[in-house]
């Protein structure tokens, strides 16, 4: 049986007057039915653009797919007509976005917005769609859902709106749910509820999830596989336990070190990576991470490391990954205030 989704060497470049922005530069991964893939990286690492490219929601121009394939159940979506892609969007592949406050249309009722995909993809009439919208709202845990479907988005709280977004995305029972930082804009307590809701619904519906986040902690609970991105490129990819417990790339080490942990005393608990992600117009030579990498050598400054299998489907893009002695050590947390 073919994979549910197979992304192969995907490259999405933006052609701007200031130069070419390689927002997604050679991303590959596979996703099986019911699996969850966590895509992790800082701002501008290309994780959202990857998702938007799969959905073909990037305006072209300025965007342009330079290479790659996006195989959904074996068929290349990049070769499909706009109409064919449209029939998958919101139907087989649904997406929820970061900011629930602005992602719902303020002038339509919640129920109408949920029902819209049902009418579009399932051919339901107004009444059936409205009834199903009530069920969906109940499913995502909104009380009095029969009344609340008649509300407008501004009458919902942030967490409720994200639940409504999830209901909207799940309306057509999609094979894949892409969640682009679904909890970033929410309160911490609500974040946990939303993640819990998503995992629970995944168990029930069996959809696969692509969870995009800058927070490895979110992924830790739910992902089967993890893809770490930096400056548009994949830097580490593997099953979750490998990436979490046997990380190979210094950037992943940094990400893990910046997680709040319970087992370490407070002084060393937070150890963020120094510096900022690079501008995608002026990507550093060689390994894009080298200016921030405490282990960087002259080779790192001149040669771009390839993503290679270090063993057991565990990939990393570092010249020294897997070398004996090149291990995650305690990096001095210089310059970080109390």
């Amino acid at each position: 049986m073919t994979m549910l989704l197979e992304v192969d060497d995907l490259r999405m470049y933006f052609h701007t007057r200031d130069g070419i922005v390689k927002a997604v530069d050679g991303v590959s991964f596979t996703l099986d039915r019911g699996q969850t893939l966590g895509v992790v990286g800082e701002s501008g690492s290309g994780k959202s653009v990857t998702a938007m490219t799969i959905m073909q929601l990037i305006p072209m121009p300025p965007g342009k797919v330079e290479s790659g394939r996006v195989l959904f159940k074996g068929a290349d979506m990049l070769e499909m007509s706009e109409d064919q892609v449209r029939k998958l969007r919101g139907n087989r592949i649904a997406m929820i976005f970061q900011d629930p406050m602005t992602s719902l249309n303020p002038v339509y009722r919640i129920g109408q917005q949920i029902g819209e995909s049902l009418r579009l993809h399932k051919g339901m009439d107004r009444k059936a769609a409205a009834a199903r919208a009530v069920e969906l709202l109940t499913l995502v845990g909104i009380p009095h859902s029969d009344e609340r479907t008649k509300d407008y988005p501004h009458q919902f709280s942030g967490g409720m709106r994200q639940r409504a977004m999830i209901a909207m995305a799940l309306a057509c029972d999609p094979d894949i749910l892409i969640a682009d930082e679904p909890t970033t804009a929410l309160d911490v307590t609500i974040q946990a509820q939303i993640i819990e809701l998503m995992t629970e619904l995944q168990k029930r519906t069996g959809s696969a999830i692509i969870m995009i986040t800058h927070d490895l902690g979110v992924v830790a609970d739910i992902a089967d596989k993890v893809l770490v991105m930096y400056a548009g490129k994949p830097v580490e990819y593997g099953v979750k336990d490998d990436v979490y417990y046997r990380p190979l790339h210094p950037y992943t080490w940094g990400l893990l070190d910046s997680l709040p942990r319970h087992d370490v005393n407070e002084k060393t608990a937070l150890c963020p990576i120094q510096g900022q992600p690079p501008s995608l117009i002026n990507v550093p030579s060689g390994c894009a991470f080298h200016p921030r990498c405490p282990y960087a050598t002259s080779k790192c400054r001149s040669e771009v490391p390839a993503l290679r299998d270090i063993g057991g489907e565990h990939f990393a893009a570092c010249h020294y990954a897997g070398d004996p002695g090149f291990e995650r050590g305690v990096i001095e947390c210089a310059g970080v205030g109390a």
């Binding site: 969007r89 919101g90 976005f97 602005t102 992602s103 339509y108 579009l120 407008y152 501004h154 709280s157």
Partner: protein, 325 residues
């Protein structure tokens, strides 16, 4: 919602008082003797003069005059023209229907042309049509209205007539009525186009910028992610949001047009209220000026009130009160 309307209505009161006060003060400081304006320049006895002043309340202190005036206003009495001796209310009542007709004709042009041009220009962004719309709106807002009127008169009234051997042309003056050359509505066409020009350009600009701004909104991305066609995204999701400010603008503009179009009415010698007030200013017929301006200001305020309330009605965020959090 009711509270909102009530508050909005209450806001009208100070503005109304302010407007009448400003007008009244203007009139009071105006150079010239009002009695002479009533009677002309002929000599008269002090007794007669006093009598005329008394009849017009001119002998009382200005604050008292103001209170008397406002009191009369509230009872629908706009006073009597100095020179014509007629009730201002009747004089204005004759002219106002013409202004109303002209305003609605212009608004129809503005709605159709302005909104359509704005949508086309936003949807076909960077295309030839977009450039054309953008440039022509810039030109239209810079054209003196009266000059545009003159150009239209020359083209449709003079050149067209010459080229067609006197067969085809448009009336360039008046409002029809007794004239049998054209049906009455034809007299509206050129003035309406002239009056609509600037506002149509603004309506198109607002429509365009609103639509473009909204096309970048997150909920438009959501709509596209649902698999809607780009037409459905534009017509169903973007337009409804983008129209709210445009409708507001057009509503306010209707108020402005109902307040008379001095320039358009002057160029076309169109017997509306703008021309009437303008002529009254020229002959210092203050009761007519005051009455006319008060009338149009009240109309503007009422229209603005209606626009505000319907804005609240169009936008559910206002209609259904504050957000849940």
């Amino acid at each position: 919602m009711l509270k909102y309307i009530a508050r909005r209505v209450l806001q009208v009161i100070p503005v109304f008082i302010g407007v009448t006060l400003v007008l009244f003060l203007l009139q009071a400081v105006i150079p010239g003797d009002p009695v002479k304006m009533i009677t002309g320049e002929r000599a008269m006895s002090p007794a007669l003069r006093l009598q005329i002043m008394k009849a017009n309340n001119l002998d009382k202190p200005i604050p008292v005059q103001y209170v008397i005036y406002v009191n009369k206003l509230l009872h629908g009495d706009l006073g009597t023209s100095y020179q014509r001796g007629r009730a201002v209310r009747d004089m204005l009542g004759e002219k106002y229907p013409y202004t109303v007709k002209l305003a609605f004709a212009a608004i129809i042009i503005e709605i159709i042309v302005g909104i359509a041009a704005g949508i086309i220009s936003a949807v076909k962004r960077y295309s030839f049509l977009d450039v054309l719309v953008t440039l022509s709106t810039s030109v239209l807002v810079s054209v003196p209205v009266f000059w545009l009127g003159m150009l239209l008169q020359v083209f449709f009234g003079i050149l067209l007539k010459q080229w067609s051997g006197g067969q085809i042309y448009m009336p360039i003056s008046g409002a029809g009525g007794l004239s049998t050359d054209f049906p009455d509505w034809v007299y509206l066409v050129l003035p309406a186009i002239t009056l609509a020009s600037v506002s149509t350009a603004y309506a198109a600009r607002i429509m365009r910028s609103q639509l473009l701004e909204i096309m970048g909104a997150d909920y438009i991305r959501t709509a596209r992610a649902k698999g809607l066609t780009s037409q459905a995204v534009i017509w169903r999701h973007a337009l409804k949001n983008a129209l709210i400010p445009v409708v507001t603008f057009i509503g306010l503009d209707l108020g402005a047009m109902l307040s008379g179009a001095i320039l358009t009415e002057t160029v076309y010698n169109y017997p509306g209220i703008g021309l009437e007030i303008y002529l009254a200013i020229g002959r210092r017929d203050w009761p007519v000026v005051m009455g006319g301006v008060v009338l149009v200001v009240v109309v503007v305020m009422v229209i603005n009130l209606i626009v505000d309330v319907s804005y609240a009605f169009l936008d559910p965020r206002i209609r259904y009160g504050g957000a849940a959090e």
